[in-house]
Subunit: 460 residues, 2 copies
């Protein structure tokens, strides 16, 4: 009987200790949210990055200004270390004109908004004028064959699927037209490609993004541009009326040799296990049409905010916590690859990496690339997030920049904000600071900080 | 043995039947979403209501136009019945000037954006110039007492609490300054009140909204206006520098006698239990500063869309499904009260009422005002919504217009969209169609239609 009493007492004490620990984590997370929502710095940082620096494509002056700014701001946080990590990046420059029209009848034209795709070659200086073949996918294209494609402009017009609730799935289902469309069309003798913008909305903004020619010989390469969704609808209608209409476009973008740039890295040294590293990051480069506020200025300032909040709260992490502002996610991923290569070379032990690169909208959850056992552990933390309206913990991808860290041990994660508005802005002139809501941005930063806190305290 | 075999077979068949039913509901809900996202009408309807009709305060010409438009559009859906329900509504008119400044030193003034609160009286035609006392709440005010308040303008400056994740809670915690501030201040001899706008963001837009004088005698009433959040911050700073500064404001709004208006009602007759009624609705009136796209144009078109989707799918509801476009939610609730009174008088049996009046943003869930047993039944339907990223089913309020239907039997529910951006727009010039995202609006309509479908099929 005494033994049972003793056992019960022990269990009761253990239970109480667990409850006390739960409650302590709840309190810390409440503090994290209060700090983010009442004295957060992410919004002011993003205002500067978006409006004072602007679009910052790899290899541009703006990208280098962003590197300097990131380094300075991290130094101002009095972290334990701030450094730059060298990396060579591609340099593609849009040039000073992009222009297109539809010739509906001889001498009558309608201008349509286009932009060169990142990595594309220029048109001849007089532009390209040719007939158009409209296709939905590569199967359509190959079915047409060289005979019907040679000498023409291929117009890829498969819309993102509006029925998919997660808009990133709709993006995945459409983006091969942009990334590989030129190569596929060139192989059949096309002279150029026009791609419907990756945008669920009908509007007048062309959306750029990376394309590449793979191993296509230089002389076979053809220029590629995106057309706004309204422009794509118009062109498609016009083609139904007149399949022989002429389309004209010109652009003078250019690829240059690689140039040096940097990842920016700051860290708080772990007090108990400094050799175990937790990374939080986003990408510092952006496309050049907007100011890159959502893609991925938001991820940059949210990641910086994680460390700032810990400092502001006086929280001493057990693990080393590192913020990485990755360079060149958009058109090369050189920063992410260089970071992972250096980590491997230096035998660094990464236990967790979290990326924010899906926009600064209301956070809905996280995605995790990890083992089933690790995911079960993570699911036990859901209760800490429910008061903050975060309910979605899924297994899946994480972020492009942290992907190269994958080694079968490190847990990778991506912040998953509400995705409905993201592709209205993604890679377009509409990706601007005005499209950011301060609270949504701050809630994302708080969610990230809370997850990093839990990993630091409880896992893995 | 045979009996057991038989029993097992029966159970198995029953289990299969349940699974088949589950799967049928899943298919129907998938169809509802596909219809809303690919051929929805809510966005086009809202464009018309917002841009062609505009702000539609009760008693205004625009409100009457909205009634005619609603009636016509519902008739075009070929419902089983469409009718108008008469209701007398208040008529308050903003007038043609609203103006305020801070006199920081003799002869030096800074203009600040204000707007009259709905229901307020005008200032004298020459305006009101007086010293200001700043308070956070009624306790502050009463502590100052008549001696320090008489002859002054009372400036209510308690911000919405940024720490609250649900912004409607933050609104609830601040709105008594707007609704009752004038009455409380008038009782201590104040000459006017200026109220910080109900807005979590710092910007230059004053937000109007209802106030009332309760039973305060006419001659004691004082004018009340809202000041933008930036204006409130400025005034507060200036008062710290010079507590004796003079504030000036004038406005010529006016209350008129009640005028006739209407609720608009459309219905699909139930095929099995036509006497049992399901209501879905929003409010047709709006404030006058913006075009009322979020508050509550969104709720109106989403509610209309529920019936349109059922028609488009050829779905025959078992219960009678009624859409009600309520008049006068903003400053009188006369439409909601009249609808409930008529329902009671006619012995109508309402089983479920759903309101959308929290903006056209991404739907996150529903709130239910019902018994614990009913809520348990509703929770068993959560699985149907999870593929659509809807996770939040809570007990609580529903909507102002359907509130008067409450009788201990009817289940009341409110759509709960993401709330972070709502108060950037609420009751201000920023509540415009441009702030609406088509997909978010459509997802809300699909969620509402799905919930109504499940109630029609399964409960209560």
């Amino acid at each position: 009987m005494k033994a049972i009493h003793y056992l019960l007492s022990v269990l009761l004490l253990a239970g109480n200790a667990l409850l006390a620990q739960d409650s302590s984590h709840q309190t810390q997370i409440r503090d994290i949210y209060d700090t983010a929502l009442t004295s957060g710095k992410s919004y002011a940082w993003l205002e500067h990055l978006s409006n004072q620096i602007g679009g910052r494509l790899s290899g541009s002056l703006e990208a280098e200004r962003a590197v300097s700014w990131g380094e300075e701001e991290l130094k101002a946080l009095a972290l334990d270390a701030v450094r730059l990590q060298s990396v060579m990046v591609p340099k593609w420059v849009r040039g000073n004109f992009e222009y297109a029209n539809i010739e509906t009848s001889p001498g009558n034209t309608i201008n349509v908004p286009i932009c060169a795709l990142g990595g594309s070659i220029a048109t001849p200086s007089v532009g390209i004028r040719a007939q158009v073949v409209e296709v939905q996918n590569f199967e359509d294209l190959n079915a047409l064959g060289r005979e019907k494609v040679a000498g023409k402009i291929v117009f890829y017009n498969r819309p993102m699927d509006a029925k998919l609730i997660n808009t990133f799935q709709a993006y995945s289902g459409a983006v091969n037209q942009r990334s590989r469309g030129a190569t596929m069309a060139a192989k059949l003798g096309a002279v150029g490609v026009i791609v419907r913008s990756m945008n669920l909305r009908l509007d007048d903004y062309p959306h750029t993004g990376a394309m590449n020619y793979g191993d296509l010989p230089l002389r076979q390469r053809i220029p590629a541009a995106a057309i706004s969704t309204n422009g794509a609808e118009l062109l498609s209608s016009m083609l139904k009326l007149n399949p022989n209409l002429q389309f004209f476009f010109k652009q003078n973008c250019k690829n240059y040799p690689d140039v040096p740039s940097h990842n920016v890295i700051g860290e708080l040294k772990g007090s108990e296990q400094p050799e175990k590293i937790i990374v939080v990051g986003g990408h510092l480069d952006s496309w050049d049409l907007g100011d890159g506020a959502h893609d991925d200025g938001a991820g940059i300032v949210q990641s910086m905010e994680v460390l700032r909040i810990f400092k502001a709260m006086g929280y001493q992490p057990k693990h080393t916590i590192r913020v990485v502002l990755f360079m060149n996610e958009e058109n090369g991923m050189r920063g992410g690859k260089a970071y992972a290569a250096a980590a491997k070379k230096n035998n660094e032990q990464h236990v967790f990496a979290l990326e924010s690169d899906a926009g600064g909208f209301t956070p809905r959850g996280f995605s995790f690339d990890c083992s089933p056992a690790q995911f079960q552990q993570i699911l036990s933390w859901k209760k800490y997030f429910e008061p903050y309206q975060i309910f979605e913990f899924s297994q899946g991808g994480s972020g492009a920049d942290i992907g190269p860290l994958k080694d079968g041990k490190v847990v990778l994660s991506g912040l998953r904000p509400d995705s409905q508005r993201y592709f209205d802005h993604h890679h377009a002139a509409t990706d601007t600071f005005e499209a950011i809501n301060k609270r949504e941005l701050e809630l994302g930063a708080a969610a990230m900080t809370s997850l990093v806190y839990l990993v630091d305290q409880l896992g893995f």
